[in-house]
Subunit: 357 residues, 2 copies
């Protein structure tokens, strides 16, 4: 073994949700089944590619202004990054430098732990209750910062804004990050609290309701003071992160509010209909307010069902880890995709019930 | 002061080269004065924007294959990132975890120091000699890793591959990164050494010779073993960094070898012609092998000249820092842009010479 091997960072290999290239029904990474606004396509087609020779605007001015306009905040309250992963990672790096542990739920987005370890931030997981709900009182203890998704992933459970506000109010000496990747499918966003709590950061993404996972855009909305700190950190490490195509397409997507709202409506309608179908098949699931359902079946093993679905060209997400080993996370696709899913599930459940295999 | 203020990361505010929005002659950030290959524009216009709803390919397969093909290496020897800043930062994070200091030149790319501090990597700067040349023997001492640009920035000096190989050979127990952002304007790349030295990483960018600073694409070429470590680190922290537009445009730019070579030829011709003009005006400069010239004038203060140029709509780069306080870094623009620059400089130098002010 060469000397340098000893000094290579040890990481836990992360396996992203599969991105199959062939024709499958892809309900495994919570993507939007509908394309982005037609205005995005138009903007790309009309883009002045000669300008690509120049560095992009490091302040992402046009996009922060469009987002500020959409959310009725000031442009100096908006920070954008390469997907919400980049934004969240930058928040960890900038704000979580206390010796006290940061708090997040035990069942939640897996990258919180990764970034905490990367930046050597002490952390302590707070256990969700038996129904996978956040226990807000757990977050009242002394800590170095708080982060949780709302709706939570992979549970899909949305906590009402009152509970979120209680946590923020109880933690005014630290930074509280509310990670709202799925909030557009759920209810009120904590963005409305930003004016009242200087310690609050709300993070959202273009990858879900805005149908642009392929463009890698995320953003944070917070007090101008916190946004300034985020920008200071970003400029000091890597100034030019958002490419010109993302900036241009991002602006167009934000401006098309009608398309955005219609898309959400379609997915929510499909989700509510799908809930009935899942129930009829004997599945149990947590109350979903996201674009996915976290479901279990009392009679069928989740791991086996996951494999059976995959063999039949239907990809869903399965972790098999503690407390959630009998759950599958199933993205809400188009009505047609869901019909195919239920067609398969009916046979799977029926076949077993009648003892045919 | 709120408690959380104490736990915010302290950073040295970095000021990127200005990106003026109005019509100026922009010779301050070493961008390419020519647009990218017309094939890039075509690819963007024809892009299937419906696919933007999906996450991009985390392995960046099409782009790593195109680069592998271009450089006659295997696809498993290529890693891509959001500009070479992202690639370099990922290399620091992955490979520089020794307790011994990493080495880099005292006058060099300013981000090396920033990443070392960010990741708490001990470092030691090795002083360039009086002519701003690398002293290769300085890098033979025990260290935790080595990084230097070739050509160096902002000096524009290219070290011949023999000297580069001497440094790599003397450091086979650590990782040696050769940062070749400007090598296409200079000479042989260290990529040809990758097959022989498993500890070597060569980093290049699409921002200079490939005219795509606005698309944020950089890459590393190394042994399959080192590329695997880089990918492990990347997947564990942020799997989807390259957006679909960057991946598609990157492939097209790489495939158009003829356009790439013509563009380099034009810039090198302008540079060589410009050297004569600078000389005639009494400037002294280091032997430039990049797309910029690092120049000083024995009779005129660099800071004053910088301001005078700016007032006249010509942006160049000036740091005013130790050892280089009398130098300006001037990007090679189009022939027309350079004519305007020299027109101004002739007046500036002449006016002073004849004592008219």
């Amino acid at each position: 073994m060469r000397e340098y091997e000893r000094n290579i960072r040890k990481v836990e290999p992360y396996v992203p949700g599969e991105q199959p290239q062939n024709k499958v029904i892809k309900l495994n990474t919570n993507e939007n089944p509908y394309p982005p606004s037609p205005k995005v396509a138009k903007a790309l087609a009309e883009m002045d590619t000669d300008r690509l020779r120049l560095y992009p605007d490091p302040a992402c001015t046009a996009l922060t202004e469009a987002l500020a306009d959409f959310y009725h905040v000031n442009p100096d309250q908006v920070f954008v990054g390469v997907g919400s992963d980049d934004v969240l990672s930058m928040c960890f790096l900038t704000f979580f430098n206390s010796k006290k542990p940061i708090f997040f739920p035990d069942i939640t987005y897996s990258f919180y732990k990764v970034w905490a370890e990367l930046y050597r931030i002490p952390y302590e997981c707070q256990k969700l209750d038996g129904d996978f709900r956040l226990v807000k009182e757990d977050y009242y203890k002394e800590n170095g910062g708080v982060i949780f998704p709302n709706p939570n992933a992979p549970t899909a459970i949305y906590e009402e804004l009152d509970a979120v506000e209680d946590i923020i109010r109880a933690n005014q000496d630290v930074i509280v990050i509310v990670d709202e990747a799925y909030v557009d499918f759920a209810g009120r966003s904590a963005i409305e609290l930003v004016g009242r709590y200087e310690n609050l950061i709300v993070v959202q993404t273009f990858s879900k309701a805005r149908s642009m996972a392929g463009m890698r855009i995320g953003y944070a909305i917070a007090s101008p003071r916190l946004i300034r700190y985020l920008n200071d950190a970003k400029y000091s490490f890597n100034s030019y992160t958002m490419n010109q195509a993302a900036l241009i397409c991002g602006v167009e997507a934000v401006k098309d509010r009608e398309y955005f709202e219609e898309g959400i409506h379609k997915i929510v309608m499909t989700r509510e209909w799908a809930k009935g179908r899942f129930e009829k098949l004997g599945f149990r699931f947590l109350e979903s307010n996201a674009n996915f359902i976290f479901a279990t079946h009392p009679e069928y093993d989740a791991g086996e069902l996951f494999e059976a679905l995959k063999e039949n060209g239907i990809y869903v997400r399965y972790w098999g880890s503690e407390r959630i080993e009998q759950y599958l996370r199933i993205t809400i696709g188009t009505r047609e995709e869901m019909e195919t899913l239920f067609g398969f599930l009916e046979k799977y459940v029926g076949r077993r019930k009648t003892g045919q295999c």
